[in-house]
Subunit: 270 residues, 2 copies
């Protein structure tokens, strides 16, 4: 099964296009966990257990694990083990380097951590991305148009042919998709660009951050970011779900928020 088919299947099984971001940080953990031996692991386990019914993918954000150094990679490995098979594991790593180096990153995320997909940055061009695209069942989400303010600094700049730089990048990414395992990251904070982006990459899976804490527009994101028929985009929410409550009911509230967002996405798909 190629990565695109894995995305469609994961979304179909759960009737959910929701991806939950695991941006776990000590300062935001519920007080009730603070005396646990490994509060990060306990939190992730509880969050995953409570939200998995509504979730087609989990997206651990590497920075939040690397901050703990060696122990952080251990947390990541253990956390990935909490995720049921069939739910996709997306390493949000924003990697990308010369070919021989990208090959090692691909090995880290696809072999060692056995993730289904990884996020990568396109700045270094095709030979920095192709080492991630060698296996049809392992996917890559390349940064296209990101959700942050800084997306205006470079991605929105005008090229000589009148297009924005991000359009040029997305068109290129689309051309690298020979194994049906390539996707793009597009931020929900730019819903006015979604219709155009879907034309540039008609059948690529999208990973869409920016809903929730970053304030993206859900209705237009679903309307223009999703392909009708085969649903193949993920809408990610991290902080809005995993930190829904800092009380003893944190897992229950996370599940409520996950269900609510899943249902909202589905309602806009009608």
């Amino acid at each position: 099964m190629n990565f695109k088919e894995k995305v469609i299947q994961a979304i179909k099984i759960k009737n959910s296009a929701l991806c939950v971001g695991l941006d776990t940080e000590i300062a935001k953990l519920p007080d009730i966990l603070k005396n646990e031996k490994d509060p990060v692991l306990k939190f992730n386990k509880e969050i995953i257990g409570a939200t998995k019914e509504f979730t087609a993918a989990y997206k651990p954000n590497l920075a939040f694990y690397e901050q703990f150094g060696t122990k952080g990679f251990d947390y990541l490995e253990t956390t990935l083990g909490y995720i049921d098979s069939g739910i996709l594991k997306i390493a949000d790593a924003k990697r990308g380097d010369i070919g021989n180096t990208s090959k090692k990153y691909a090995s880290a995320f696809f072999d060692y951590f056995d993730c289904d997909a990884v996020t990568v940055s396109p700045y270094m061009g095709e030979d920095s991305i192709t080492p991630f695209l060698g296996r049809e069942d392992k996917g890559v989400f390349v940064l296209g148009l990101t959700s942050n303010k800084g997306s205006f600094d470079f991605q929105m700049q005008k090229m000589a042919d009148g297009r924005c730089f991000y359009e040029f990048v997305i068109e290129k990414i689309n051309s690298w998709n020979t194994k049906k395992n390539c996707g793009i990251v597009v931020g929900a904070t730019h819903p006015e660009m979604f219709e155009n982006i879907r034309k540039l990459a008609p059948d690529l899976p999208y990973l869409i951050p920016g809903i929730g804490a970053q304030g993206g527009d859900l209705e237009n994101t679903v309307k223009y970011g999703f392909v009708k028929g085969d649903v193949l985009s993920f809408i990610n929410s991290s902080r809005g779900i995993i930190y829904a409550s800092s009380g003893p009911d944190f897992a229950e509230k996370a599940a409520e928020e996950a269900k609510k967002l899943r249902d909202s996405i589905n309602s806009f798909m009608q």
Copy 2:
């Protein structure tokens, strides 16, 4: 001392602008180390011990450690401990994400691993870079014009104002250098662009890969990439030095290559 001053001092003390890249991989280790308990660590320790006389900075490439997962981060931490103080430690990580995430990456590399600098990718713009620029003694090398073939895919594309995209990026990076801790990565495979790049960023430290295995032009790189008077650029070589020999003399040969490259750089600075 700000990062720029640290770079100048490190180069002055060793009379060397050489940075040695620690891209350690099992398949390339000398046979003599294969029965060691931790061949990666033994190799790195020997290489660092043999080359430190000629070296102003070491640059571990994160991918080569991450491929081993948790153990790899342990290798990285231990390896960094082999490096004498005064020699700079540059984490070649190519990170970059939204603000709250870049902040965690900065914490990983500057607090946990106590590196002096980290490489980052500019695609997500200013708010993805500024979290790395908060401390004047910790530096950032932002990708400007990279050494690989893929640098032509995006970095060399023409903008509406006639400039190449990399020129626009480097000018922006230069404007973020308010704490004198910002630098750029420029590949030695583009020596014809170096004169122009130095105009765009007159007093930024450069980290220059692409010499050695990638075939960059050393003489023109030094001629146009270095600032006269205050030497503040590093020329990196990884494979060309650390894999100079796969025999029992691997450390000795690495030292010879390091000395040779250091001397060549110095000779072109005359």
